[in-house]
Amino acid sequence: MTEPALLIEELHKSFGSLEVLRGIDLELAEHEVVCLIGASGSGKSTLLRCVNLLEPIDDGRIVLRGEEITARGVDVNRVRRGIGIVFQAFNLFPHMSVLENVTLGPRKALGLSRAEAEQRATELLRRFGLLDKRVDYPDRLSGGQQQRVAIVRALAMQPGLLLLDEVTSALDPELVAEVLEVIRELAAEGMTMLIATHEMSFARDVAKRVCFLDEGVILEEGPPEQIFGAPREPRTQQFLQRIIEAGRL
């Protein structure tokens, strides 16, 4: 039995009196891609933010490759360097060019020299077809380009785990494909990823396992064929029914 890349046990998180996560248990093996699906407000984003230590948790624990990262006294900056996260709204730095956006983390958090960071950034930007945009500022780019830059920014830290938080939800439909293509490529390379998404067909394609979140718990999980083909829980069936009616599956 090999050690899991990520282990979440009995995770609880409340905002005031609202309990958003009510006991999440989840395990990710190395190179595994897991998709989180569920209605808005079911806790997908909060779960990802907790894993990246952007939200303090109330109870439970998160273990990353054997290290309990939610323990007291853990250097959160060091932990975050090993975990990439890409946000729904891109969150690029508007006062920096694409190249500066991508090199900021490696230079300041990893201590790379400007030349090393730029070399690493240039390679990644070239690979994802963004090299000609490197001196542009984010406002000039399309949504799809911005989100690809955000993914490159996360990859420049060479993370061992990538969290994607509804990365296509803020995009125009015709721009979704280019971003999903990048993620498929990463999955094929063996990147360990935890993905919150509303793109069901993408989840079916790329995920090894799909978890259905409902009211702060993982109600049902399994391989995509099972979740999408023969969901057991009535809530899951209901959710998927609504998705099908909306023409998104």
């Binding site: 952007l54 975050r80 990439g84 006062h95 920096m96 300041k108 500022y137 406002d139 000039r140 996360a154």
Partner: protein
């Protein structure tokens, strides 16, 4: 002018202190708040009078006796309070998701402030910052209450000697001559930033 540089730096420090989160920093935040309330509450002229006449009168060896020095200190104290509030508004206007993005890359709280939050905050508050500096420029006239000869006092002397009101016009022109270039400089800074962000291809 020296005062302005000092104010820019100290006020930013104060604004940062006030934005520190968590109970650990409560005393620091409280001090910063008390400071801002205090020096914004007292009329500038009163601070100048108190420090300008009071401090030299204390006759403490190592302290400068110059009234000009204490007048400048007074202006710095008062304007630091105002400018720190301007900065604070700027810092709070930067969306928390920017800080989250920076922290998610493993940057420390300070690095995130330094490279992501403050650069955006400062760009947004350049116009109100200039407002305060024009105010400062004009408040140098208050120093005359100490008997220090600045523009206004010199004008009064000339006016009294020659019985000629146009000296006031000259003084007014002098003030405007300083503030207008400052205003254009601000416009230029703002426009340059906008150009940079929207037009691509500028070598960065």
């Amino acid at each position: 002018m020296i005062a302005e540089v000092i104010i820019l730096v100290t006020a930013l420090g104060l604004a940062v202190l006030r934005s520190l989160p968590g109970p650990v920093f409560f005393p620091v935040r409280a001090l910063a708040i008390v400071y801002a309330d205090f020096f914004r509450g007292i009329p500038t002229i009163l601070v100048i009078l108190m420090l300008g006449t009071g401090m030299p009168a204390l006759d403490i060896d190592w302290m400068p006796k110059s009234q000009v020095f204490w007048a400048v200190v007074s202006l710095v104290l008062v304007y630091t309070a105002y400018v720190s509030e301007v900065y604070r508004a700027g810092i709070e206007s930067v969306h928390p998701s920017q800080d989250a993005a920076a922290r998610s890359l493993g940057l420390s709280r300070f690095q995130s402030l330094r490279h992501v939050v403050i650069p955006q905050a400062v760009r947004r508050v350049i116009p109100p910052l200039l407002n305060d500096f024009i105010g400062l420029q004009k408040d140098t006239a208050l120093v005359s209450v100490l008997g220090v000869v600045e523009v206004l006092r010199q004008t009064q002397i000339n006016e009294a000697a020659a019985f000629n009101g146009t000296y006031y016009l000259v003084a007014a022109t002098l003030f405007v001559a300083i503030t207008i270039p400052l205003a254009r400089l601000t416009d230029w800074l703002v426009a340059r930033d906008r150009r940079r962000r929207q037009a691509g291809g500028v070598a960065a």
